[in-house]
Subunit: 384 residues, 2 copies
């Protein structure tokens, strides 16, 4: 019985994780979770998982009422609430399905406490990959990716690490794959939120449209698999059935193929990197294999991929600046404060104006994140 | 330094094997080989591989002349010539690139002598898979497939055997994938020899057009990977870039992808199931990934696949009858004695009229093969 803490229970990954936990009550107990917006989820989760001991709520208004109804449960909220949630529990695995920089501290905290982490939070690795890998190097804890791309690479690399030469992350290309740069200047929020193959949260859907998401995944792959970014490529594959590939010394590739169903990679991570029979998932049957299209990445059309690679080459605090600028810019775009290509422009501005700290500590990263957000917010106010 | 015996040096697989051996003189020595038709190859091979000790020639006329020129080399020919070739050498690996039933005895003989075998000869496993697996069960010798499909499955299965549920052999579909049965009645030998994606010998090219080849590969996969034939599927993929797939318990597939270049699977087999850097091969670059098409197998249009499965379900000497009838029918088609769909008709007739021996010995298989050839030849003479 694996004891689980789930951060981000109300998001897309969180709900699909719960789907699997519910189907495998014999393998997992859910000791705690955090919820952001949809706190109506709380009561149904407590009912489904009566073993729950601790809950974090973003919205603290409901805590008095819930504490009365469930006196045996600890409720947390506020700035250090997630930290206290983690410290209140003895779990085997924390699933980090938070979105954004706020995912960094919990990942580091959990790993430091000897808790394995399965992460759908990209930003933690983008910003703090070096710090995270230093903890993992101890050999006492594991970090499992949940992204379909990184699970695909894990599967293809397994047992074949010695002869792997390149990692190839597939990318649907998002809704604007075939637009010109000129056409991209005019796209609306609604158009950008219309992802062709995956149903995801808003932040990651915009990151997919700008290809920032793929840049982040390159950085994640770099840290997860110890591959230099120059050996990590992107291949457009609009059908999202090949989830990624590894290229080997003999000129062949291994590719992970499957339906566009995040429950498969989530299940793989929940079981510590093992395929399990009987978990809920959609089927890609031989009758339903669609035609697979491919296109090489066009760096001029989607410059954020090479910008992400460059940020890692320079390293230090620069990936933190990249992430903070992107977060601010994406939410500014979602609120129609800046145009679609403004996201890219804002990120470039932030990177051009950043001072790089060589080996930042967690505290320094938090400070860089905060400062970048202020600078970028002011820049947007001034320019747009 | 691995000591090699190559059977079928002048065929398509044989020549590509030599290509690799020549590029890796530091890893392999070629102690012997057999040649069929193109015996002008002999002198150039002896020059390239001065370590050669024994040679089999189909055509014995040249032996006196060659013996004079190369007195240190043993030359063999005639009915037991291949047997004597094998017995004359101490090698680590025999590459069986013979075509047809004649590949069976050498494979069994080599394995019995403790020599590992890499086989491109399908017919040995189709006819004698059970006998071969009994020798391999000793754990002292290995059989490595050379077929791109089976190498693909080996790569995808490696380390993942526990959760593999189905094997999926891809098939280009050959030149007649989109013809109707009526159109197939009229196809010519030249049309049948025009394979869309692979350049191969004549026998296997016709087997690809009838899909008998895929039926044989199902039988091979059944013996190589200990999978029941009901868990082995066929998927049409005309571009021949996905070389086969394995379907796993979690709803995902692993696929081996690469250029249509047999030197890659040959290299994998030569190194005992390992990917090697720097062997000669074509490249499938990210820029050159074509669009991948897929179609499910149409059993009514290509009945030989299910006929092959049925032959294995019944077992015993029936797969031997299937193979012998096919060999005779294919050569009769190549000589324009029967029409294209006559191949299928002749095979069905042979299977319908066969008496099944339950657990045939090698000698019994040789007798069944001989008798089937006579019966089928007479049947063709009488009917066509």
């Amino acid at each position: 019985m694996k004891k689980i803490l789930l951060l981000g229970a109300s998001g897309s990954i969180g709900r699909q994780t719960i789907d699997i936990l519910q189907s495998r009550r014999e393998d997992f107990s859910l000791l705690g979770f955090s919820v952001g917006n949809q706190d109506n989820l709380i009561v149904s989760l407590i009912t489904s998982f009566p073993e729950v001991q601790s809950i974090f709520l973003l919205n603290k208004r409901r805590i008095p009422e819930l504490s009365k109804q469930f006196p045996h449960i600890n409720f947390f909220s506020g700035e250090d609430g997630i930290k206290r949630l983690i410290e209140s529990l003895q779990v085997d695995l924390m699933i980090n399905a938070l979105v954004g920089f706020i995912g960094l501290e919990p990942t580091i905290l959990a790993l430091q406490q000897g808790i394995d982490v399965a992460t759908a939070n990209k930003e933690a690795l983008v910003v703090g990959g070096k710090l995270i890998n230093e903890i993992i190097a101890s050999g006492k804890v594991h970090l499992y990716p949940i992204d379909s791309e990184h699970v695909a690479i894990s599967k293809a690399l397994k047992g074949n690490e010695q002869t792997a030469q390149r990692l190839i992350l597939t990318a649907s290309g998002g809704p604007f794959l075939h637009l010109s740069r000129t056409e991209m200047t005019k796209v609306t929020v609604q158009e950008a939120l219309h992802h062709p193959s995956w149903k995801m949260g808003k932040k990651i859907t915009i990151d997919s449209a700008t290809l920032m998401n793929k840049g982040f995944e390159i950085i994640e792959a770099h840290y997860l698999f110890n591959f230099p970014v120059d050996k990590i490529d992107v291949l457009f594959h609009p059908e999202s059935k090949i989830h990624s590939l590894v290229y080997f010394a003999d000129g062949s590739y291994l590719a992970d193929i499957g339906p566009s169903d995040m429950r498969i990679p989530i299940g793989y991570a929940l079981y510590g990197g093992q395929r399990k029979v009987g978990l809920p998932h959609n089927d890609l049957t031989l009758d339903s294999f669609p035609t697979f299209h491919f296109e090489p990445l066009d760096d001029e059309k989607f410059p954020l991929v090479s910008i992400a690679k460059e940020a890692i080459r320079i390293g230090g605090s620069l990936p933190c600046v990249l992430n903070a600028a992107n977060e601010v810019a994406v939410y500014a775009f979602l609120e129609e404060q800046i145009p679609f290509l403004g996201i890219e422009e804002v990120i470039k501005w932030a990177l051009d104006n950043a001072k790089v700290i060589g080996e930042p500590s967690l505290e320094e990263l938090i400070a860089v994140d905060k400062m970048t957000r202020t600078l970028v917010t002011n820049y947007i106010k001034g320019k747009y």
